[in-house]
Symmetry: C2
Subunit: 169 residues, 2 copies
DNA sequence: AAAAGTATTTCGATCATCGAAATAGTAGAC
DNA sequence: GTCTACTATTTCGATGATCGAAATACTTTT
């Protein structure tokens, strides 16, 4: 197995990397799950909160239908989800001027607070863990994460063509 | 921000890496979700199948309680889960000799087949995506994935001390 | 104005999950 | 050796997140 005395103890194989990625995603799953359990939120609620905060950060609006699309959830489930989040004050419904069918979702202070509790400790831990990685190494990692995400996206796209020919007039 | 003309266009910051990691885990989530939807399995079933296959590959036995522990699921939910998987032939219950309270879970051919459908396309896509990474780069990536997983685990462990003083009866 | 389309919600049903209790079996105390 | 405590798994009843279909409210096209 030692392909070379140079690169130290056996460079990780595809399989090794796959395994590492797998344990990472499992752990990430648990993180969300536990955070949710701790705060009375379900998986979906946690994911939704993350999306809402992300949209808020970018200053983009978020509608129930956009949320439904991103979470791949039915419209009715989305209504129920928003009801839940609204009940605990993590989101608010607003009727924007203009198209009055629409509802704009905004994140009030309580939701921002919750988001901080969720992400700040993790961000801190990551920062500490990554302190030793230099610019060149970070570039490698970033490239790796990117191509891996794309690879998954490509494969996953195959399962769900789900195609509506999208005849948008 | 250009700290050096050497390292190319701006090395990724902690925040950049966090974002990349986040999109990766989201995508991984979707992968499991869609695969499940395509094959009539729920999220939990997919996770369980992955664990069962992993255990089978290592030649280790898997019991309902071990599964419950790893999935952080209640015993009753685990029974129902195994019932579901058993109904479609992805797992089988066996009574091993010795302690007759126990049940050993084994993965019959149908389950292995399902596992292949799940992992092989992904493994192929990863292999292609990672072809350009040399030994030194892989080592960096492996180290990154590892420390990141540990960081998450450490933070997540804080939310769920879960200690029951164990007052039974 | 009417018709067709879109955004969201309501309603009824399904099913994964839970907690508590039941069942079956093992091991320790005496 | 039997009784008691403990462990592994399952059964039972209830809760609630989700779905599909239909309803509601509004907009755009004809």
């Amino acid at each position: 197995m030692t392909r070379d005395t140079q690169d130290g103890p056996d460079a990780p194989s595809d399989q090794d990397l796959t395994r590492l990625l797998q344990t990472l995603t499992v752990e990430s799953d648990r993180y969300a799950e536990r955070f949710g359990a701790r705060h009375g939120l379900h998986r979906t609620d946690v994911n939704a909160l993350a999306l809402l905060l992300d949209a808020a950060r970018r200053g983009e609006p978020m509608s129930p239908s956009a949320l439904a699309r991103e979470l791949e959830l039915s419209p009715s489930a989305t209504t129920a989800l928003i009801d839940r989040l609204e009940a605990v004050g993590h989101v608010a419904r607003e009727k924007p001027t203009g198209d009055r069918r629409r509802v704009a979702l905004t994140v009030p202070e309580a939701g921002l607070e919750e988001g901080r509790k969720m992400f700040v400790p993790l961000a801190r831990a990551f920062a500490a863990a990554w302190a030793g990685f230099g610019p060149a190494e970070r570039e490698v990692v970033a490239r790796f994460l990117d191509v891996s995400t794309e690879a998954m996206k490509a494969v996953s796209a195959e399962w769900e063509p789900h195609e509506q020919p999208q005849r948008r007039r």
